[in-house]
Amino acid sequence: MNKWSFLLLVISGWMVVGVTMFGSRQGRDSSGAPLPDRADRIVSLAPNITEILFAIGLGDEIVGVTLDSDYPPAAAEKPKVGTFWQPDIEAVVAAKPEMVITLGFEQQKNLAERLRRIGYNSLTVNIEKVGDLFAVIEEIGAATGRQRQADELISRIRAKLQQLASLIGAEARVRVLWIVQREPLRVAGRDTFINEMIELAGGENAIGPTVHKYPPIGSEQVIACNADVIIEPAMGRDDIESRRESALQHWNKFKHLPAVANRRVYVIDGDTVSRLGPRLYEGTETIARCLRPYLFEN
């Protein structure tokens, strides 16, 4: 036999051997297996998931978080397993988790699958809208045996939001322009959880429907949107202060915009509005205070 047929034979044999050895699901693969209903060692790969876990009483069971999990303060003390965008699979495994909870975007979904393939239970959740939030709190509660605490948390949040709604009553909605980035100018669009919070706070987005969630916009659209209020979230005390100081000067070029003319540009602490989590009410109330300050003077 010539060397080519020999090579072909060897390669075919190699493939056959490989398929028989590895073809069937290997021992520890847990894809498709149902999740257990309790877990004593949990790794959370997103800050809002961490907040939920703490809020339903699982703070002690957490054995790993990503670098940006900073609330509640106890979360910052937990061992780190990488960043939100690049979780470190080795650190996750080293933490010997019984359950890993991830968000649903590509990198984390992929990581969850890899973990399942090597036998770790992982739960992937999507928290993109307010409705998702309540569903996910229930889901996490069910998976960790804390259904009661989960239900209580959901009721608490709903009750407070209800209270806020009655306080606002049927007043006309305030037009809000939500600034994500000053240069180049990017705002929050209608297809975001921020928009939902704005509406829960009695406002409406000054920007109409857009293709992108956080679109860059031009000066024309700013003028045309006729916003009553401009809200700029900022992170950290230094950023908040510097933005407040430069706000008037920066927005002066739109001096005919009602928000600027009436000096209703608010730089707020972005902590409670940067992620969709159990502090939903706190964030919504912060926004409501900007829209109708008179309601809260007591």
């Binding site: 390669i11 490989g18 495994v93």
Partner: protein, 343 residues
């Protein structure tokens, strides 16, 4: 090298190189963001309820990833050797004929179309990227042939045009895609090493290994081709057959590499030159040694990518360029008296 290449000498060199590769792979598998003790690894996997993390990290995460890096490095380096001799162009790399943009287009189509199914558990991005890469090569080959029987310039131009067209398509799709989809695609394309599962690794090893052996078989013919198609033909080499085999195999192993790990540059361009400078241009030696050198290079680069900015990870392509560049310059200066086209 002052002596002729013989089978014995080649086997010896390959053996030594493989030993170096094994040593490098072993050392690199002990390195990572978590400290892993070898003794703990050897105690075994532990139970389902209480797994041994050292074992898990070493065997299920690090080792597969390192093997993958080795395979991809070998595939890209050998493909680079082939494209450099086929196109008679020292600047050729495995992506020169549009493979990179084809794979990228496949990837972004997979992400945007939101396919959620997995092919036997493999993500659709890899499958689409593979199909995109192979499809593009076929397209370029087809267009190139329209300019006349294997006109090298025609082929290169076809590659440039197809590259430009597909890149434009990619940019268009990127601009209308949602931001997390875009990020996912770009991140994947930048080159990433994930621990594949053993079946995928096994099959990939079979393809890449088989491909490199087949290329070795036509090594003498590739040597003759270095002198031009006419000369090679007068010496009795079936030029058309050699080109078809070489081209097909190089494209296939590049597509496999790209679908496994995204686009990692620099390896396919520079490793062949480095190996050629040290060992000479005889393809019977150049091919296996480039494969092994590519594997060693990428394993080291990947390890650095894992630990330099831990706990975050650099894209491997960044490390290959930053590490490879100066290293190659050193080789170039030291061995440059052998190189004709530098004079």
């Amino acid at each position: 090298m002052e002596q002729l290449l013989t089978a014995k000498r080649l086997i010896l060199r390959i053996g030594l190189a493989l030993a170096v590769l094994a040593a490098v792979m072993f050392v690199c598998s002990l390195v990572g963001t978590e400290t892993v003790s070898l003794k703990a690894v050897l105690t075994g996997p532990g139970t389902q309820a209480a797994p041994n993390p050292d074992y898990e990290i070493f065997i299920r995460i690090r080792l597969p990833r390192i093997i993958l890096a080795g395979l991809v490095g070998a595939a890209l380096a050998c493909a680079g050797v082939v494209f450099q001799v086929l196109l008679r162009n020292p600047l050729a790399d495995p992506y020169i004929l549009g493979i990179s943009s084809g794979a990228g287009l496949g990837a972004i189509i997979a992400v945007i179309s939101g396919f959620n199914w997995t092919l036997w558990g493999r993500s659709p991005i890899a499958v689409f990227a593979f199909a995109g890469a192979l499809g593009t090569v076929w397209l370029v080959w087809f267009i190139g042939r329209l300019t006349g029987k294997f006109h090298v310039t025609g082929l290169l131009l076809a590659g440039v045009v197809v590259n430009a067209f597909f890149s434009a398509l990619m940019m268009f799709l990127t601009s209308i895609a949602k931001s997390d989809q875009v990020y996912a695609t770009i991140f994947w394309l930048m080159g990433n090493m994930r621990e594949g599962d053993f079946l995928v690794l096994w099959i990939a090893a079979g393809c890449v290994g088989g491909g490199i052996v087949a290329l070795f078989y036509i090594g003498p013919q590739l040597n003759a081709l270095s002198f031009g198609a006419d000369d090679a033909r007068s010496m009795g080499v079936n030029v058309a057959r050699t080109r078809t085999i070489a081209f097909g195999i190089a494209a296939a192993i590049t597509a496999v590499a790209v679908s496994l790990s995204g686009l990692i540059g620099f390896v396919g361009l520079v490793v062949p030159h480095g190996v050629r400078l040290v060992f000479g241009p005889d393809h019977r030696q150049l091919l296996p040694m480039s494969g092994i050198a590519g594997a060693i290079f990428l394993v080291i680069a990947d390890t650095l990518a894992r630990i330099i900015v831990a706990p975050a990870q650099l894209p491997v392509g960044v490390v290959t360029a930053i590490v490879g560049g100066p290293f190659f310059l050193i080789i170039l200066v030291k061995y440059s008296r052998k190189v004709s086209w530098l004079k």
